[in-house]
Point group: none
Chain length 229, copies 2
């Protein structure tokens, strides 16, 4: 299967190089030469991965990253020329999947891209997901907690699936809203996500008041505990 990758990079040389590298690996590549264009393209199409340069004309790269994360669950690799720790931290704090400093070796870049995409593939191919005492059968849409079958409503299951697809990563309530309910914006959508997270926790958490599986990161979103491999 061919993965679709979006490159957001203003420097034509680098953009062209990245495009060539990725095409060579068999990926389907689209290039945006500005943050605005990137955001637009990401809205119009469904990509599997975004490669984003931090330094862009117009909107800043971090802002672009935040906006994308705000409304979707797509993984992002951030490119930066600065080697500074501050950048690394702020980049990863947003929830970027990976961070690469320029200049980087072509091989390393390809490896990182491959690693992220193969993990997505891995999750897709699992028939069962195990996290602690939680067991999810993705084929039968059944959830077990410590061997006991738990009955989730369609919406609750959909919410859990969304969290599973990016387990270990923070997902904003906007992204959850879009994935589960299909709305980009909706008055009361925030409450909807909140209440349904509560409902899910009530069913799958041993102690819903001290969640072990569905964790919250203040101001960012929710994160499902990492999947055991």
């Amino acid at each position: 299967m061919q993965h679709k990758i979006l490159i957001i990079e203003d420097e034509p040389d680098i953009a062209g190089m990245l495009e060539y590298l990725l095409r060579d690996e068999g990926y389907e590549v689209t290039v945006a030469y500005s943050g605005e264009e990137g955001l637009q393209l990401n809205k119009e199409q469904e990509f599997h991965l975004i490669v984003l340069d931090l330094f862009l004309p117009g909107i800043d790269g971090l802002t672009v990253c935040n906006r994308i994360k705000q409304s979707s669950t797509i993984p992002i690799i951030i490119l930066s020329a600065r080697d500074k720790d501050s950048d690394v931290i702020s980049g990863l704090e947003i929830g970027a999947e990976d961070y690469i400093t320029k200049p980087f070796s072509h091989r390393e870049f390809i490896l990182r891209v491959g690693k992220i995409l193969s993990r997505m593939k891995w999750i897709n191919r699992q028939s069962e997901i195990k996290i602690g005492d939680l067991l999810i059968n993705l084929e039968k849409d059944e959830v077990y907690m410590g061997g006991e079958r738990i009955n989730l409503t369609p919406n609750e299951y959909s919410l859990l699936s969304c969290l599973i697809s990016r387990a270990g990563w923070v997902i904003s309530w906007q992204a959850l809203l879009k994935d589960v309910w299909g709305y980009d914006e909706w008055e009361g959508g925030r409450e909807m996500v909140k209440v349904n997270i509560q409902r899910l926790r009530k069913k799958i958490e041993p102690d819903p008041h001290r969640p072990e599986y569905i964790l919250n990161e203040w101001g960012k979103g929710y994160r499902l505990r990492k999947i055991e491999e």
Copy 2:
């Protein structure tokens, strides 16, 4: 009789191999190289079994699986690339449906296909099906409840047969509608299924208000209690 098998697999190498293996066993094989194509073919033709790769371009394999189940009762074998580690599956019911991990031995694959088809055959060959106090004579189309002969109308019997063919699995009302009445969509079809489930329950359930045999799963469909073998 020759069984018809649909393979949904995008990688030509694997698809070709599966096709060869199954043809060699005397099955009639059709290959779809994408989820969309697979769904289309399944609509147009009647297959006995579907072999589905979870990882597909375009629509995801799980989505394809759910869509197919939404409107039919056909058994599906899922191909996945799960790692070897999990022994978790043993606790769960696989039943008529199965998954197989890549890479797999050709012999194993053929065996699993054979097992599912022979189970269908088994049900077909079986002159009697027993579930609790319920006894169904498939040759004479007679149903007994605790020794008492029960008279089912043709539609009721057809509905029961459909449930039997996938006993233990949830079947959506859309799938029942298609199997029993032959309609893909029909204004009022939902009510039709509902009322006929009620009629069946009235006849075969000891207490129709607390069904033991024909169970409902909210938002998903109906499930017949597992057959005793």
